[in-house]
């Protein structure tokens, strides 16, 4: 049986041995994303550095191989990005898996996550692939919506180490 190249060894490795799947000790923010129809759920956390870039990214949760591998590849990609860059990459990823962006030169920005481009031909799996990206984007946008991000960050670090709070 010919298996679509999507489920390649590199992909399976991300799904089964994700480098970024762990409970982060001191996240700046965490946010839970759920796909009710498939039961995929993950909580994504990031810690921002002093300069506002993403210093560490990690997730916990459960779901299909596509949602898990996608979250792992995304985490790797996001380290050292600013929140604004991260949101742009989330938008690009969503365009890719909906088949709206197919230019390899553009998709290069997604690094390994570009291997998920075939999802564009699997409409039932789009939600699985985009769960992590949607969750990250929602979290960053909610965070960015506050007047002083830095102030909120330090407040969160001072008072809340529970890691499971929604972004307010």
């Amino acid at each position: 049986m010919a298996v679509n190249p999507l489920y390649n060894a590199q992909f399976i490795d991300h799904a089964q041995h994700p480098d970024y799947k762990y409970q982060m000790d001191d996240p700046t923010m965490s946010h839970e994303g759920v796909n009710p129809s498939c039961g995929d759920e993950l909580t994504f956390s990031v810690r921002l550095a002093e300069d506002g870039t993403i210093e560490e990214a990690a997730f916990v949760g459960s779901g299909c191989a596509i949602s898990q591998a996608s979250a792992d590849m995304m985490s790797d990609l996001m380290v050292d990005k600013t929140p604004a860059e991260a949101i742009e990459l989330c938008e690009l990823f969503k365009r890719m898996i909906r088949g709206e962006e197919t230019d390899d030169a553009v998709l290069e920005q997604l690094d390994e996550a570009a291997m998920l481009r075939d999802i564009a031909h699997m409409p039932a799996r789009v939600k699985c692939a985009e769960l992590a990206w949607r969750t990250l984007q929602e979290m960053l946008e909610a965070h960015g919506a506050t007047a002083s991000m830095t102030a909120t960050v330090s407040a969160a670090c001072d008072h809340d180490h529970s890691h499971d709070g929604e972004v307010g």
């Binding site: 049986m1 489920y7 399976i12 459960s62 779901g63 299909c64 039932a124």
Partner: protein
Amino acid sequence: MLTPEQLRDITESPYKADFPLLAKHPEIVFLDSAATAQRPACVLDAERTFYETMNANPLRGLYRLSVEATESIEAARARIASFIGAVDGTGKPQASQIVFTRNASESLNLVARTLPQVVGLGPGDDVVISIMEHHSNIIPWQQVCAATGANLVYLRLDDDFTITQDEVEAKIGPAAKIVSVTHVSNVLGVENDVAAIAARAHQMGAKMVVDGAQSVPHLSIDVKALGCDLLAFSAHKMGGPMGIGVLWGTSELLDAMPPFLTGGEMIDSVTETSAVWAPVPQKFEAGTQDAAGSYAFDAALAYLQDHDMAALETREHLLATYLTDQLAALDFVHVIGPADGARHVGAVAFNVEGVHPHDVASILDMGNVCIRAGHHCAQPLLAYLGESSTCRASIAFYNDKQDIDALVEGLKTVWQVFNGS
């Protein structure tokens, strides 16, 4: 385990040639008939024949075409009635007991919206359903209970996936006014002893509703033997068109139930302030019906009868047994439901160890094997079983051993993709 003779009987399918999609696409391994069945050519032809030879709005016309359209609907009703044993003492089909809807879901919604009034459902009364219901037989009753103050009570399964008589007697008591249970689970494929549940319901003075969406396509049904008051099912799961459902009920109950949808075709007379309902079944059929769909459903049932429903049932029993046995023989597959294949009607739920059902289904699809994966519109059942989602393979008489063997090969590939060869 099947005998060599039984295996030989299911090695090939003499029926696939009758089903255009399967005949034109021999590469497709269709194991999702519990979601919707394939349709034989005679059903597709019937849909076209209706529009080419008898197309007119039924019921109201006084000219020949409209009369023919009306007669085609009534002939369909009569065949459906015969098919489920809704006949009088002389064997005459009780066509007026057949109400056309869009699907089994609509039939159940019709019942949930009208039966409570007949039984005077109120605070403190019980509506009893089972934990293995499809959402279509849960949500309407949740709504009814929220509106009336009645309690929603669940019959639960034991470790052997059975609703025991003890459970039935414990849950269906004097407070029960309505009992609504599926005949066959769309996830587990197990058959419930609906006759025993109906007997208890009637003993307690409750009305018995049966969701037959997964049983009428596969089992020879006799509503008198089931002992139910109302039975809902869908044409599209038995070779008929999508968009046609049936509600069967006893004449006494259908007469007592108020209309569901109102408007054209369901009245005898209308004044500025009131209306007199048409007799059953028209009382429940507001607006222009899918007459071509009814005519095509008639053709689907004729196909099943011409090929001997009992013989098809026997074949499906062998296929379901083989399917369960083959899945159980894979050490990385976990069957969710009875290990005994003979207890499966149509469907078998399973999971591949360590692989999410959606990945299983996607990889199987790469080999043209079609199965369902997810919660199967039965989230309370999956929660009760401690599963967030499962794979489900389901058969119909047109399947054969080769289809099931292709599924098994596909599952081996799934395992290799995730675990190396």
